[in-house]
Amino acid sequence: MADQEIELTVLEALDHLLDRGVVIAGEAVISIGDVDLLYLGLNVVLANVDALKRTSRK
C-alpha cells in the first residue's frame, strides 16, 4: 500500500472515530473543545490528502 493510501486510511479511521457512533448523555466531543478543534483540522487534512492522492494518479 502506498504511503499516501496508508495516510488516507489512518485519517479516515480518525474521521470515523471522531464523527461517528452513538452520542451518550450529550457529552461526547462537544464537551471537550480541543477534540472538536482537532476534528475540524482533521477534515482539512483529510480533504487535502484525498486531493493529493487524486492528483498523483493523473
Partner: protein
C-alpha cells in the same frame, strides 16, 4: 485514571483480551485507560484508540460510541447509558454478521450555503439550509451505477449529504466485503473523473445512531 469508552459489545470475549471490558447491564463496553492529566485530544492516544477499534471489529461487530466519552467506573457508565442497552442489544444480535461501509464523493455541483444574514427569520434560514443541502447530489450516471452494483449488496443503506460531500452508508454482510471492494474497484475504473473514497469495514455507526430510522 479515566476509562475512554470505544464501543458496546454483546460478549465479554468480543472485547478481551484486545482491551479491557466494562460491564453495562447485560452488555460490555470496550475501554482504554487514560491518565487523568492526559488530554483526550492527544494525537498518539487517538491513533492508539483507532488501532484498538480496528482490532475489536476484527473480533465482532459492535456499536461504536463517538469519541469523547470517559467514565470513572461501571456505575457512572450505567448512569449514562443504562437505559439504552436494550436497544443496543437488539442491534448487536440483529447485525452480528454485518459491518458498515461508506462511500464518499464530492457533489456534481456544489451548492452555496445560505448566509444567515440574508434571512429575516430563523425558520426561513433553516428551510433554505435544508433545501441547499438536499439539492446536492453526485453525478447522475455515477449514482445510477452505485444503485445498480453496490446498493443491492447492502442489507440497509442510507444516503447522506452536506454542502461539500455526498456519502452512502451501507450495512453489509462480512461475507460480502470482498465483492463490495471489487465493485468499488470497477467503479473506479469506469468513473475515473469522479474522485471517491470507499472505506470500511466500520462498526455500527450510522445504523446505530438515534436519528436512523429502520
Amino acid at each position: 485514571m479515566k476509562s475512554v469508552i470505544l464501543g458496546i459489545h454483546l460478549r465479554e470475549e468480543d472485547v478481551e483480551p484486545v482491551t479491557k471490558a466494562m460491564r453495562v447491564a447485560d452488555l460490555f463496553a470496550s475501554t482504554v485507560g487514560v491518565d487523568d492529566d492526559r488530554p483526550l485530544a492527544d494525537r498518539d492516544l487517538l491513533l492508539e484508540i483507532a488501532g484498538v477499534r480496528a482490532k475489536l471489529l476484527d473480533r465482532a461487530t459492535f456499536v461504536a460510541v463517538r469519541y469523547g466519552l470517559s467514565v470513572r467506573d461501571e456505575s457512572e457508565l450505567a448512569t449514562k447509558c443504562g437505559d439504552r442497552t436494550a436497544k443496543w442489544r437488539e442491534l448487536l444480535i440483529a447485525h452480528r454478521e454485518e459491518v458498515e461501509m461508506t462511500l464518499k464523493a464530492p457533489p456534481a455541483a456544489p451548492t452555496a450555503r445560505p448566509d444567515r444574514r440574508d434571512f429575516e427569520s430563523g425558520s426561513a434560514y433553516l428551510r433554505a439550509l435544508y433545501a441547499a443541502t438536499y439539492a446536492v447530489d453526485v453525478d447522475a450516471k455515477f449514482r445510477a451505477r452505485i444503485e445498480e452494483t453496490l446498493v443491492p449488496r447492502a442489507t440497509q443503506h442510507r444516503w447522506m449529504r452536506d454542502n461539500t460531500s455526498v456519502e452512502l452508508a451501507m450495512l453489509v454482510r462480512r461475507s460480502d466485503l470482498d465483492a463490495i471492494r471489487d465493485a468499488g474497484e470497477e467503479l473506479r475504473r469506469d468513473f475515473t473523473s469522479v474522485p471517491f473514497l470507499l472505506s470500511g469495514p466500520w462498526p455500527l455507526e450510522v445504523f446505530a445512531s438515534d436519528d436512523h430510522q429502520q
